[in-house]
Symmetry: C2
């Protein structure tokens, strides 16, 4: 895409009230816009990045048998009363609203209840199990504080998958598959090395749940890492009893601040029993379905990448999520031979299917380079006067800063 056509402009300053690094950088680079505290819009570059993150998650959820759905935000109170999750004293993040006839409705902060009710229409027999449904859907959470940028906002797209199994064994098998899929997501998104499967508190049906925590100074959580086992324990459950259970000694652990980038949760038959989601087993007897829930927030993941990988010059995107693979920066003036060369290179790369952002604007080189660093595409290709003579281009690696001279054919081959 030509940058002269991109409607967003980078800016020197983030809003004065924005304290998180991720939002400061993403706003300055024109990826997101702050509507109000904890509420962000995604602009063209930000939406492309978010969609790349979503694409990775979708592939991994499909690979473990997930079927994609899209449930509503508006929620029926009667349903949530049955699981005792309607009252503000039970759930403190509801946004509630009203119909014209004054009947209350909620804005979904999660979807165990509606998906459980919905599945009653489609699950009758053990032959109908297992089933795995997921969505990318906008959650609303009435957070008291929202100071972590796009990592904790009052509305955000969540990937929530729900599993429906006939017994604990079938459930546990899937649960481990989901955990492996989660680790693949974080690895593909470029934060695998810093992300740990983490023991966290369970619910009524399980001693533990699993969180996926990424070590980061901006994190709101505290975890204890066992590097040898590549696992961690959330501070809230890191007791002597638990350590003994896991066969881990306190002195083998190191404490780190971390960001929860995903969680998976055994639900047992809590929701299926409360809402009547049963199936006929092989003997024709009714049993409640075994359930689990599995969440990843794509925007939180995107924000975590910014917190973790950016440097003093700006954002550094991994290739897997970058909105464009290459940033072609022309140092030409409109109509000159440098601009013509850059136009041609942009056209050639685009024809080969390479996602190129092309800075064709008439600005000073220093300004262009600073903005290119801020925007954070993995590679920058500089088209200057010397390139006209040599047909060889300066390629700068955003992460390492390495500069190479690459001939045109090799350049096109590298990115195609």
């Amino acid at each position: 895409m030509k940058q002269s056509k991109l409607f967003t402009k980078a800016r020197r300053e983030a809003p004065a009230d924005e304290v998180s690094k991720n939002a400061q950088l993403l706003i300055r680079a024109g990826y997101v816009h702050k509507e109000m505290a904890g509420v962000y819009d995604f602009l063209p570059l930000g939406l492309k990045t978010l969609n790349n993150v979503i694409g990775i998650i979708r592939e991994e959820m499909n690979a473990i048998g997930g079927e994609e759905v899209l449930l509503s935000s508006l929620q029926d109170p009667e349903l949530w009363k049955k699981t005792k999750r309607w009252g503000d004293e039970d759930v403190d993040v509801w946004f509630k609203t009203k119909l014209k006839n004054d009947a209350e409705l909620g804005l979904g902060f999660t979807h165990e209840e509606p998906i459980t009710r919905l599945m009653r229409d489609h699950i009758a027999s053990y032959k109908d199990l297992p089933r795995y449904a997921y969505q990318f859907q906008n959650k609303f959470r009435n957070e008291t504080r929202a100071k972590s940028g796009i990592m904790r906002s009052r509305e955000f797209i969540m990937k929530d998958l729900y599993s429906f199994n006939r017994d604990e064994a079938q459930f546990k098998e899937f649960y481990e598959q989901a955990a492996e899929a989660y680790l693949r997501v974080f690895t593909r998104a470029g934060i695998g090395g810093q992300t740990y499967r983490t023991f966290a508190s369970g619910g009524s049906f399980s001693k533990f749940s699993d969180e996926f925590q990424t070590v980061c100074e901006a994190g709101e959580d505290l975890i204890y890492i066992h590097e040898g086992k590549k696992i961690a324990i959330n501070e809230e459950v890191c007791t002597d009893d638990v350590l003994a259970d896991l066969g881990i000694k306190k002195e083998e652990l190191r404490q780190e601040k971390s960001i929860e980038v995903g969680n998976i949760f055994p639900l047992g038959t809590k929701y299926s029993a409360a809402l009547g989601l049963t199936f006929k087993n092989a003997d024709g007897k009714d049993e409640p379905v075994w359930m689990g829930s599995y969440g990843i927030g794509p925007a939180r993941l995107m924000g975590t990448i910014v917190e973790l990988l950016s440097d003093e010059r700006g954002i550094v995107w991994p290739a897997s999520v970058a909105p464009f693979a290459v940033h072609v920066v022309s140092l030409g003036k409109p109509g000159d031979e440098v601009a013509a060369l850059a136009d041609g290179l942009y056209a050639e790369l685009s024809e080969k299917g390479v996602a190129v952002l092309y800075d064709d604007r008439d600005l000073r080189p220093g300004e262009k380079f600073a903005e290119s660093d801020l925007l954070g595409m993995p590679a920058r290709v500089v088209v200057g006067k010397d390139a006209v003579a040599t047909d060889t281009f300066e390629v700068v690696d955003r992460k390492t800063g390495t500069v190479e001279k690459v001939a045109r054919a090799a350049l096109v081959a590298r990115f195609s």
Copy 2:
């Protein structure tokens, strides 16, 4: 996809309280689930269909220079007070909610205000114009009645595009391009023949706006069609004065019920003036930006297709929006040679990239055919005993009912 893996099941009856044909058929076929009046979930087949509709619209919006964004649902009252659209006496479809500190928020029913404010950060000079931004975003509208299924729901994804131009001439040029793009969308979605560009009432800046109305008995609108000119006039503006303006005689018109599948609206400088979106013209003077808004509801479009094209046996999808191109129906029993042949055909078509729904379930043929008709894929391929001997398959056209015998190679070639 194997139907044995699809979690949804077709059913004989729709919910008793569902009066609209589109929702009755879509619920029976397992495309959507009704959460409550005017609130629907999209299940796997429904979401695939919706995404196909969205894909068509996205291509056409990109083709006229649109840049995709995603704005928030939560809305800041201060912004909407400036345009006098916050009060319930001014706008009667707001859903409102509250933060923990009791501050009111709205749930966006449209997005002129936030996108106008946002553009102030990115438009400064006439060189920054034109700009076109659009989104597929969930709108909330507190409708008193919601009896039209997915054609009028209380939350729904809308494609809303906003245009930003430097003067009326530049605006009008784009407005006509957008109108042409809209007609291409409806043609590609299979309802072009029944859809008319329709004069409707304008706002403060224009005598008319344009609606796109599809002739259909289930419609809530009344239009007067001039078949020769392939245009229509909404009842609300079909006065003698307007007819005189358009050079049309009353007796040339026929009245029809219709569904509004899209609208485009000149906004002039109403929002830009109220919210301070100005640009410096070539003389360095500040002028307000000229705006327009352009809406299509993908779910309403999907519902309209169902209302218009379905028959007494069920849904009839045009190929462009069908969740699968082909429905392969095996009449075999698990493990027999008919099932093996069907498995092989499914694998071969899938490898060629054909979107195939494969009914591999062990059910009676009559039940399978009835469900296949209800689900509405454009073509059904029947794999029965005769196919084992001949490697020739019965292909049934869902729309016309035409039955052909097609040899395997020709079949694969036809759908690849």
